[in-house]
Amino acid sequence: MRLLKTIVPPLVTLLVVLAAWSYVTRPGGLPSYLLPDPMSVAQALWSGLASGEFWPHIVFTLSSTLIGYAIGSVLAVIAGVLVAESALFERFVFPYIVAIQATPKVALAPLILVWFGFGLASKIVLVALICFFPLLVNTISGIRRTDPELIAMARSFSRPAWWVFLHIKLPAAASAIFAGLEIGVVLALIGAVVGEFVASERGVGYLIGSATVNMNVAVMFAGVIILALFGVFSSMAVRFVQRRIVFWEQPPSELPTGERP
């Protein structure tokens, strides 16, 4: 019943959009070099996947996104912990972090490609750089916003500082860190595609770019659909993990009653 309620309305929306799309691209409607009809996009997508033509591109984009995201995220949490826990580090580094956070990192894409070549390495660096900062800022503010009374409580029971960090500050920051991870995963994909637009021989971004040159609009749309699916599934995956780890921030009815590790 609940499934019916969450699945049916968006499905109706999709059907309406598809119907409108078919209508404007009907014979005698918009020319196919501006907007291809839904069927030819579906055909382009299907033949690209079935012939194996898309797969190297998909694998390339997936690997640069995931590897870069993993590296950027790990570094961001480590750096965030350092900044949040050390006053000295904060005084010297934090103003620059704020400044860089406000800079669009994709502007560095050409430079990074010059430094790291046109292959996978440059995409990984760009992706890591892009998802690093939002997570860094979220980690810092998450740790900083730990309820001071919880810290005072733990101190009153003579808990050492490392313990307070591990068992109070880090869990307290967990939902902020996951919010940063969710922003990061979407940005990571943008970074990978921008890198591929600028210079690449592979990737879904490259696929879209070369389809543009050939005016093959159906393949462009197919590429965009692939990227959209990446984006949706990766943020769903982050949210899934978040619900598992930050279990205490859910309505009480969904909480486990049994033992937890």
């Binding site: 309820d147 409580m153 009153s156 029971f157 808990r159 205490w248 909480l255 009653t257």
Partner: protein
């Protein structure tokens, strides 16, 4: 929990001794919160510190817990001069301050590093405290599944876990509704009578202080001064009926008059 045990404690040397204590929060101007304050509590005594909000009551507890350090004077618990957090105290706060990511049992075992870090004896102690506070069936629940009263009971159990000599209670029931508050006062009395520790209970509720304490100290002003020091000679265990007795009412009236005088003072002073 016999009467004779209570009598012997009154003659023993004080467990808590503050003498000539001055404290002001850094960066705040004006008079210090505490100045030249001296106060003692006997071993095994239940001392209620009563006073208006912002009267330095909580600061007093923070000094005893070692969370803050006095700028002058000495703060002693037993033979130890307190200058940092130490193992001799157990504390309960106004809010439950439970870790939402840990179940009730782990929250109670927090002073020894959760169930994993606890010795078998400490785990047994936690089980005993769970039973004593009526939480036996709630050990695996998480804090956001608890009512306010249950959460504060977890706090009471956590305070007692590591066998502290001194219990510090910072308005522990003030966020609860009136009914729960009364029930928890009864429960605290029962727990205290079973455990017989020195307790410092900060509150701004006159009936609560009278109901629970062997001695009520009224603290007010800035810097805070001891305005009154009353011994409450009501027999234990006290019940809800105790609150209706003439002695109780007379004491409550006396304290209320004192309070009125203090707040009038405040209103006149600019």
């Amino acid at each position: 929990m016999t009467v004779s045990a209570a009598e012997t404690t009154t003659t023993s040397p004080p467990l808590v001794a503050l003498s000539g204590v001055r404290f002001s929060y850094p960066g705040r101007s004006g008079a210090p919160v505490l100045d030249d304050l001296s106060l003692a509590a006997a071993d095994g005594e239940f001392l209620a510190v009563l006073g208006p909000s912002g009267g330095g009551k909580s600061t007093l507890l923070k000094l005893l817990a070692g969370l803050e350090v006095a700028q002058a004077g000495t703060v002693k618990v037993g033979d130890t001069v307190i200058s940092r957090p130490h193992r001799d105290v157990g504390m309960v706060f106004q809010r439950p301050t439970l870790l939402p990511w840990r179940n009730v049992r782990d929250n109670i075992l927090l002073p020894v590093g959760f169930a994993r870090g606890a010795s078998p004896a400490e785990r047994a102690r936690a089980d005993g405290l769970l039973a004593m506070t009526g939480l036996r069936d709630s050990a695996e629940l998480y804090p956001n599944q608890l009512s306010g009263g249950m959460a504060q009971r977890v706090g009471l159990a956590r305070m007692l876990l590591h066998d502290p000599k001194l219990l510090l209670l910072d308005e522990p029931f003030s966020a609860l509704d009136a009914m729960t508050r009364e029930r928890l006062s009864l429960e605290l009395q029962r727990i205290w009578m079973a455990e017989r520790r020195t307790a410092m209970f900060v509150t701004h509720s006159i009936p609560e202080a009278l109901f629970l304490a062997d001695r009520v100290v009224v603290l007010a002003g800035r810097p805070a001064r001891v305005l009154a020091d009353l011994t409450i000679d009501l027999p234990r265990p006290r019940t809800l009926e105790t609150m209706g007795t003439p002695t109780f009412n007379a004491l409550a009236l006396e304290l209320r008059r004192l309070f009125d005088a203090v707040s009038n003072d405040k209103a006149i002073a600019p």
